[in-house]
């Protein structure tokens, strides 16, 4: 699996990047798992806010009204009222920072609005100007700031214990402790590796983490820890904190060992591969092996839920014009499912068992976002949606070769709007430049 190395972030400016290339950022409402993702509403161009006035000679903080000219994720290109079509003082601002307020906030806190120095004398009657400009315009809801604050609280806390996939043996889970929480992303340190070197990053809604006891409850392999006593302060994360999966009925027609399908390769997320159901677990979970690259002991089988958007019926790639990776060593190319199933004396998993729901996600080709490099999941990178196939997105990491691209579901908790890193304090990896890659 290819992975990237950390690149210093200095100098990257989303605003300049978006403007100089005339790019579009995916709207916050595409990301239901992020702060404000479900209450972003129709915040759009034209909305007015009260923001710090940076064009003043006064020594105290003063504010002025600005309008949203362009939105990219959490970030807005703002223009102070009075500048009309003059773009020279436009500036980018994260709408969720504490210095952005609904119109009316200054009056309610006793602060006068002061026009920018460079247009101070443009209008003799600012009141008439503002009444004309603001009447009928939109502003933020009064509780916007408190909602942002509320949305930035996360239930996972340091020292909570979880079960997480063992990154060196995908077929099993291990116990890990939450060491850090940033923006809902968890830094997990595997138990028995308390020097902190053996860690794994994932979002709190990741399908890779579970409550303590989950593996045993569904029959998943689990690496037992020899830790006999919990350290003070440790507690098992309550089961209700984890992402829920849909209940499924396994009593009727169901997946069986040996059935073939197509699956995103967990070790190479750029590829959708020919795969096999290796073991049917309880509660709708399946152990999947990638054909042609399985370890003899099954140590690289991977657990996907039957409703996972990362598994597809045989033929999905062909129908959607996606390159299907044939089993390693399989020479009868181009790969044909019909021939392969006959040669393997196998059957394809029935189409009706797969998740065919396509949410109205709003992602479009070309949209910019911040995306986790799942091969190096501590890295959140500047990225682009390059293909949309129903609910499946092809994510390209800006500045990197296409071979690093990843197939990701539209509801993946590893995708974030422009400005998420700034909002949460997470380090953003800028687009790679030729020199830094070497």
């Amino acid at each position: 699996a290819k992975s990237k190395s950390v690149i210093p972030v200095e100098g990257f400016d989303w605003g300049r990047y978006i403007c100089s290339n005339n790019l579009v950022g995916a709207p916050v409402s595409c990301f239901k798992h992020v702060p404000m993702g479900t209450c972003w509403g129709d915040l759009a161009e034209g909305v007015r806010v009260e923001v710090l006035n940076s064009d003043t000679s006064l020594s105290t903080k003063v504010y002025w009204i600005a309008g949203v000219v362009k939105l990219a994720g959490f970030k807005a290109l703002l223009r102070y009222e009075g500048f009309d079509n003059d773009t020279s003082r436009d500036f980018w601002c994260n709408l969720c920072i504490p210095e952005v307020h609904p119109v009316g906030w200054c009056a309610s806190s006793g602060r006068p609005l002061v026009p920018p120095k460079s247009i101070q004398h443009k209008y003799s009657n600012w009141k008439a100007f503002l009444v004309k400009r603001l009447t009928g315009a939109k502003t933020l809801p009064p509780d916007f700031a408190s909602k942002v604050h509320e949305n930035l609280q996360f239930p996972f806390k340091k020292l909570m214990r979880v079960e997480v996939v063992d990154k060196t043996h995908l077929c099993r889970t291990r116990v890990a402790l939450v060491e850090q929480v940033i923006g809902g992303r968890l830094k997990l340190v595997y138990e028995e590796s308390m020097d902190g070197s053996d860690d794994f990053w994932c979002h709190m809604y990741s399908p890779l983490i579970h409550f303590i006891g989950w593996s045993r409850s569904i029959g998943h392999r689990f690496k037992r820890s020899d830790v006999s006593k919990k350290i003070d302060g440790q507690m098992d994360a309550p089961p209700q904190l984890f992402a829920k999966v849909k209940d499924v009925d396994q009593s009727g027609e169901w997946y069986k060992d040996g059935m073939k399908l197509e699956a995103i390769d967990p070790l190479n997320l750029s590829a959708i591969c020919v795969a096999t159901v290796r073991k049917v677990l309880a509660d709708g979970y399946l152990m999947i092996g990638i054909d042609g690259s399985e370890a003899a002991d099954g140590s690289d089988w991977f657990c996907y839920h039957s409703t996972s958007p990362s598994i597809f019926p045989a033929g999905f790639c062909e129908i959607n014009n996606i390159e299907l990776t044939p089993p390693r060593g399989y020479t009868k190319l181009p790969f044909k499912w019909f021939d392969y199933l006959r040669e393997m004396a196998s059957i394809a998993a029935p189409v009706k068992l797969f998740n065919k729901e396509v949410p109205n996600h709003g992602f479009r080709q070309g949209m910019k976002l911040e995306a986790v490099d799942l091969m190096e999941p501590r890295l959140v990178c500047v990225a682009t949606v390059t293909r949309v196939v129903h609910r499946l997105l092809r994510i390209h990491f800006d500045g990197w070769e296409d071979e690093y691209d990843q197939w990701v579901d539209c509801e993946s908790p590893d995708l974030y709007p422009v400005g998420w890193c700034q909002l949460t304090g997470y380090l953003l990896q800028p687009p790679a430049q030729a020199v830094s890659k070497t």
């Binding site: 009316g104 200054c106 009141k127 503002l130 009444v131 939109k138």
Partner: protein
């Protein structure tokens, strides 16, 4: 007014305070209860 997304926008009297004095304007703010 209800937009396509189902979010309701409400008309609000918003107070503005400038160096010349205070006045109010009618603006739209989205309904926070959605």
């Amino acid at each position: 007014a209800t937009e396509a997304s189902g979010r309701k926008w409400e008309q609000k009297q918003v107070q503005i305070k400038t160096l010349e004095g205070e006045f109010s304007v009618t603006m739209w703010a989205s309904d926070d209860k959605k």
